[in-house]
Symmetry: C2
Subunit: 400 residues, 2 copies
């Protein structure tokens, strides 16, 4: 079937014909639940059995602040292929892909309606006791097992070609690593923090450090990244963690995924005083977020080292001196990328609800300035970091 | 025509049919001039006009120390496509490609019989006054202009995929970055230097540093490298420099090409006492080689910075702080890769004539040990290098 955007009715008809999903006497209903900026998302349910699936169809454009720009449908292939690989490497931590239709840029996948988007959960002040363990494991397995440390020399290099993803990488190159550090048209920040933003624009040393991280993002083909691992790409319950939406997947530096996640937890950390009147409550939730960061890194590191021991056959890479060196550098990289990801969410085009929904402008400004301070400190201090505790200390010290 | 290895007669018949190369009444003769280990090389000449071309046909195997292992014919595509790009980026510094036949894995190219292989020229004690300028320019233009600093975001990433070259990269990964640092079967060194080689095998810190360089070789997709830029891949006259044989081309770290070249000049440096009886003569030629390294880096850096100024539009990359930082890191990388390339030529499978042809075993051992010392010092001291003079000083200091 030639590409065209599905109606709800077309989605139902397509679902009915898919083998092995719904029974013959299913009574299907469809509801479009996406935000319509990049993709159509249909929730399709059999009223008889309560069985349901998600249809995600890429649109051939991105709608950003009112404007529409063309965007490759190939991101749908990238997303479905990345989900299938991630599920092989860490089963149960991503939605199951039931079907992929290249022509229609359509992925049919597991319905996760019993989960909530983690960002919303954090804004509501919820806690997810198994999250650190789950996400640490997910990152260790996906990042390690797609790298040169685990794949054969041919397979890894063919995967690099398979996941060449220029258009979506370009969005990150611009919106994470460039525009926020200049007076770019795309920027969108609270006027009350203009003085602090201008300090960043005028900080040549900071910008040179960010340029290094940008070049790393553009050239270091270490492993298959999720590519956009923020708390809006994670769905959770108290018991379960599912990572969704890997359309930005490509071969890049491991620290970029870890940094994205840490950044988004620290954005929630920075937003707390905007949300909570009681300083003790605020401090308590910050402790929870800090512990989450420390725990997820420790789980990550433990699993990463275990995988190293199990998989690395290359004698150059198997020495303990090199593993230590690699993990130490990875922490520094992760801190640097976390810093960029924090600043861009305050200054750049795509804000985060954690901050944007703080109603009082003054309190929002205070939280945003705190996020900028943590972000800058992470970028500038990363070379001397030796533990994840020190990383978290940077955030704690920035709180006045 | 389906792939089969050409006979001289078949090469002549093929040449006669190529449009625009020989005239109708040409009297063609063919001579196979390759070493037959990896490729057939035919020199085809018209006796009437003296016009000549080179046919280079890849063989589907590599013959190494008697054994034969299959090797992809795709390297022939890589080589011809790399030559065409290099000629566009730096015209006149590589042989012109007249024709490429994918089926036959055959490249028809400019005959450079008036040039000599530079390694042979150096062994004979010749000097090439224009070489530093030529090769500095060639490296600056090819390395800069295929990078993210010059190419559009799509074109660069598509080129990464175009030059995925797993089998030939694997040869480098094994023979440059792994086997020499262990008691590997492939190694092939002078028994007189065994004690020094074992010291390297037992040096965990050195090997961890080499592992970092290996990981950089495997993951840092900075630019289209030549991939094997030693003095055996360069043909020279006093007036002209031509870089040949880019079958190892792939997207890798810029420092690898620069390091390969510096390593091979320093191998000649290390070999001098094996060749020259007169210490003054020896010292004089070493000064020439040292000056060549310094000059080629300075030309490289000047041209690289000029290209940067001309081409870099991305505001993150255009600051002078970042350029300085980038060039400084590139020198360190180049020194590190040079060190690996030196050690592998002494310990590993593929030696260099500069050392191998020193007849006196004791003198050869002395030169080889000097090469190992320089190689180790380059790897270990690279982080603190701030100028190419300091790099050359490392070699000079190693001379007892």
């Amino acid at each position: 079937m030639a590409y065209h955007a599905f109606s709800e009715q077309e989605a139902v008809e397509y679902a009915r014909k898919l083998p092995g999903i719904f029974s013959e006497n299913a009574v299907l209903e469809s509801r479009e639940i996406g935000d319509g900026n990049l993709n159509l998302v249909f929730h399709i349910k059999d009223k008889n059995s309560d069985k349901s699936v998600i249809f995600k169809q890429a649109l051939p454009y991105a709608r950003v602040v009112g404007e529409s720009m063309p965007l490759t449908l190939d991101r749908s292939r990238i997303e479905s292929e990345a989900l299938i690989i991630q599920d092989q490497l860490c089963p149960g931590y991503v939605p199951k892909v039931y079907h992929y239709d290249k022509e229609l840029a359509l992925t049919v996948m597991e319905d996760l309606s019993d989960h909530v988007i983690m960002r919303r959960g954090l804004i509501e002040g919820n806690r997810y006791p198994k999250f650190s363990e789950h996400i640490g494991l997910f990152m260790a397995r996906t990042l390690f097992l797609s790298s040169d440390f685990a794949l054969g020399f041919k397979e890894k290099k063919e995967r690099v070609a398979q996941f060449i993803n220029p258009e979506l990488c370009k969005i990150t190159e611009d919106l994470v690593f460039t525009d926020p550090y200049f007076d770019a048209e795309s920027n969108n920040f609270n006027p009350l923090i203009r003085a602090e933003v201008e300090k960043i624009w005028n900080n040549a040393i900071l910008k040179s450090e960010i340029a290094k991280l940008k070049f790393g993002f553009m050239t270091e083909a270490q492993t298959l990244l999720h590519g956009d691992l923020h708390t809006g790409s994670i769905m959770v319950t108290k018991e379960s963690t599912k990572v969704i939406d890997p359309e930005f997947a490509y071969y890049g530096p491991m620290g970029f995924d870890i940094g994205a996640l840490i950044a988004n937890l620290l954005l929630s950390f920075a937003a707390q005083e905007g949300w909570k009147e009681d300083p003790l409550e605020c401090q308590d939730y910050r402790s929870y977020l800090s512990k989450t960061i420390i725990d997820l890194w420790l789980v990550f590191e433990q699993e990463f080292r275990a995988l190293w021991k199990e998989h690395v056959k290359d004698p150059m890479y198997s020495s303990s001196a090199y593993v230590d060196e690699f993990v130490a550098r990875l922490l520094k990289d992760s801190a640097g990328y976390a810093g960029c990801k924090m600043m861009r969410r305050v200054i750049g085009l795509a804000g985060v609800a954690d901050l944007k929904t703080i109603e009082d402008e003054q309190r929002r400004a205070k939280a945003e300035i705190l996020a900028l301070e943590i972000g800058q400190a992470l970028v500038m201090s990363r070379h001397s970091l030796t533990s994840v505790d020190e990383l978290v200390e940077i955030a704690k010290k920035a709180v006045k």
